[in-house]
Symmetry: C2
Subunit: 141 residues, 2 copies
């Protein structure tokens, strides 16, 4: 039963780089671990679980601050799933907001690109669309 591993093995098992594991500890997302006499960090199976949890949450785009809250809820046996769901829905709204912004960019850029011949001529609808002439005039009114 190898219950304590050093940071390299923790990184390999969890899929989180050693660099980032230390960083998470630095900023307080992870509690400080035990150390060997030489100062090497040691991770038990529960802490390995937490590292995996962080990786999954990062894959879903949660910020480290949100993950700190999620981890606190995960560890709390008296949590209510309502609190978890609220965090998730908040993040879901952020994701949808970003998708909306990107979709708007995509649409405008697609329109400009469609109107650009893409040939050897210097005339270009994309550059015309980026030029501020119209917008500046419009804004100043």
């Amino acid at each position: 039963m190898k219950s304590l591993v050093t940071i390299g093995e923790a990184a390999a098992v969890s899929g989180v780089s050693a660099k980032m594991i230390r960083h998470y500890e630095d900023i307080g997302v992870l509690q400080k671990t035990s150390r060997t006499d030489a100062g090497y960090r040691l991770y038990n199976s529960q802490q390995l679980q937490q590292l995996g949890f962080i990786r999954q949450a990062r894959n879903l785009g949660f910020s480290l601050i949100q993950i700190e809250s999620l981890l606190a809820l995960w560890r709390d046996p008296n949590r209510s799933s309502r609190d978890v769901k609220q965090l998730a829905e908040l993040h879901l709204a952020e994701i949808r907001q970003k998708i909306a912004e990107l979709s708007q960019m995509e649409q405008v850029l697609q329109q400009l690109s469609d109107r650009c011949c893409g040939d050897l001529s210097p005339h270009c609808a994309i550059l015309d669309g980026l030029a501020p002439n119209q917008n500046l005039a419009a804004e100043s009114q």
Copy 2:
């Protein structure tokens, strides 16, 4: 015809903050401007146009490096629209990639959230979904 303005007015007209105008000059996206005897930067109408161009391009999500290329093409009377379109299509692909990633996150997170009751019970499908495979615990024993 007020052809030269200081940075504050340039910022107000272009919608780019004075801070960012100086930054763009620092990193070479904009050429150095003329200065008054006291060292104040002065902007002519062509430079104001460029600032507006940058703002439009930033609104479409172009990186400053891409904008540097776009500005070079904009200034080049011998450009080919093909080069511009290539840059735009590249960025369009980046945007679509990001949208795809975010949509994937949205879908997974939506599924987890749907399965979470959101009540006062501690059981939570979201936390279960974020927990790494129990292999981690199993492997360490």
